[in-house]
C-alpha cells in the first residue's frame, strides 16, 4: 500500500503534457467558439430586449395620443350634442309658437265663420218668420178682411215681437 503515497513523477510529466496540450487545443477549438456563441446570443437578447423596449415606448406613445384624441372627440361630441339640443329646443319653441299662432288664426277664422253662419241663419229664420207671419196674417186677413179688431190684434202682436226682440227690429231695419 505504500505505493499509494509514493508518486511516480513520470506520470506527473504525462499529466502536465496532457493538460498543457488540452489547454492549448481547447482554447482554440472549444472555449473561443463557446464564448463567441454565448456573446452572440447575449447580444441578440440585448437587441431583442431593446427593440421590445422601443416597441413598448412607441405603443405607449400611440396609446397616449389616442387617449388624448379620444378625449378631444368626446368633448367635441358633447359640445355638438349640447348644440343640437339647444337648436332642437329653439326649433321646438319656434314650432310651438307657430302652431299656437296658426291655431289662434284658425280659431279666429272659425269664430268669424261661425258668426257669419249664425247671422246667415238668423237672417234666414227672420225671413221665414216674416213669411210665416205674412202667411198667418194672410189667413187671418182672408177671414177678417174688414175686421178692425184683427188689425189691432196683428199690430199688437208685432209690437210685442218688437218689444221682445229688439234685434229683429234692427235687422229688419237694416234689410
Amino acid at each position: 500500500m505504500e505505493a499509494l503515497i509514493r508518486p511516480d513523477f513520470g506520470l506527473s510529466f504525462w499529466t502536465i503534457v496532457c493538460f498543457v496540450l488540452l489547454l492549448v487545443i481547447l482554447r482554440k477549438t472549444a472555449w473561443t467558439p463557446l464564448i463567441n456563441a454565448i456573446n452572440e446570443r447575449e447580444e441578440g437578447l440585448r437587441i431583442a430586449r431593446e427593440s421590445t423596449d422601443q416597441a413598448r415606448i412607441e405603443a405607449e406613445r400611440v396609446r397616449d395620443e389616442l387617449n388624448s384624441r379620444l378625449a378631444g372627440l368626446k368633448s367635441e361630441i358633447k359640445e355638438q350634442l349640447e348644440d343640437a339640443r339647444k337648436t332642437a329646443a329653439r326649433e321646438k319653441e319656434a314650432m310651438l309658437a307657430d302652431a299656437r299662432k296658426s291655431a289662434a288664426g284658425i280659431i279666429a277664422s272659425a269664430k268669424k265663420e261661425i258668426e257669419a253662419e249664425r247671422a246667415e241663419a238668423l237672417r234666414d229664420m227672420k225671413k221665414r218668420v216674416a213669411e210665416i207671419s205674412l202667411m198667418a196674417a194672410g189667413q187671418v186677413l182672408r177671414k177678417n178682411m174688414n175686421s178692425k179688431a184683427n188689425e189691432e190684434l196683428a199690430g199688437q202682436f208685432l209690437a210685442e215681437i218688437e218689444k221682445d226682440r229688439p234685434d229683429l227690429k234692427a235687422e229688419a231695419g237694416n234689410n
Binding site: L4, R6, G10, S12, T15, L21, T29, L34
Partner: protein, 266 residues
Amino acid sequence: MHEETCGVNSGIMELKEILEHHIIDKVWAYLELGPVHLPVSKHLLMMVIAFILLVVVLPFIIRSRSAVTAPLRSMIEVIFLFIRDEVVRPNLGRELGDKYIGYFATLFFFILTLNLLGLFPFGATATGNLAVTGALAAMSLVLIVYAGIRKQGITGYIKHLVPGGVPVWLYPILFPIELIGLVTKAFALCVRLFANMLGGHIVILSFICFIFIFGSFGAIYGFGVAPVSVLLVLFMMALELFVAFLQAYIFVFLTAIFTGMAVNPH
C-alpha cells in the same frame, strides 16, 4: 476455529491485494529517455482517453447546431457559464477572469472527465494518483504565481505576499510563512482531490469485499450480507458520481480563490 481465523486473515490479505490492484496504477512499461523513466500505465491510458474525449467531443458538441446535441451543448454551456460567472469572475474580476477562463474551464473538464472515467468498469481513477493531482496542483501554483507577477510585477507580488498593515519587524517571520502557505495551498489541493477520489473507491471495494469476508465464514453469511453490500455500493456509487463533480468544482474554485488573492492583494 483455527481455520476460520485463517479464512478471515486470507480475506483481509485478499482485500489488501484487491485494493492495490484496483487503486494503484498499473505500469505496463517504462519509456527510457536518458535519465528519465516515463511510465506507460493504466492511468496514462485514462488520461489519453480523457484527452481524446475532450479534444474530439467537446468541440464537436459546441460547434454542432443539431437538435440532438442541443441538451449536451446547453449542459456544457451552463457549466462553463457557472465557472465563468460564479467562480472566476467574482475572484479575478471581469477582465482578468475572461483572460484566464480557458485554464479554469479546461481544468474543470479534465478533472471531471478523469473522475468519471474512474467510475466506469475496467476504468481507473487517474485523479486518485498523487502524481497526477500533484502535477495539477503544481500547474495551479504556477498559474497563481504567474498571474500575481503579471498583475503586480515581480517586486510588487513579493511585497504583497505579506498582508498589508503588518509591522516591518514581522516581515522576516511572515515572509517565509506566506511562502510556505503558498506551497501548502497547492499541496492541499493535491491531497484533497487525491484523497477524495481514493476514499470513495476504497469504501466501495470494502463493501464488496464484505461479501467475500462474510462468505468465508460460510456461504449463508455471504448471501446474507450481499444485498446489504450491493445497496451500500449503489449508494456509494451515487455519492461518487456527485463527488466527481464536487471535487472538480472545488479544485477549480480554490484555484480561482488563490489566484484572486494573488492578483488582488488586501
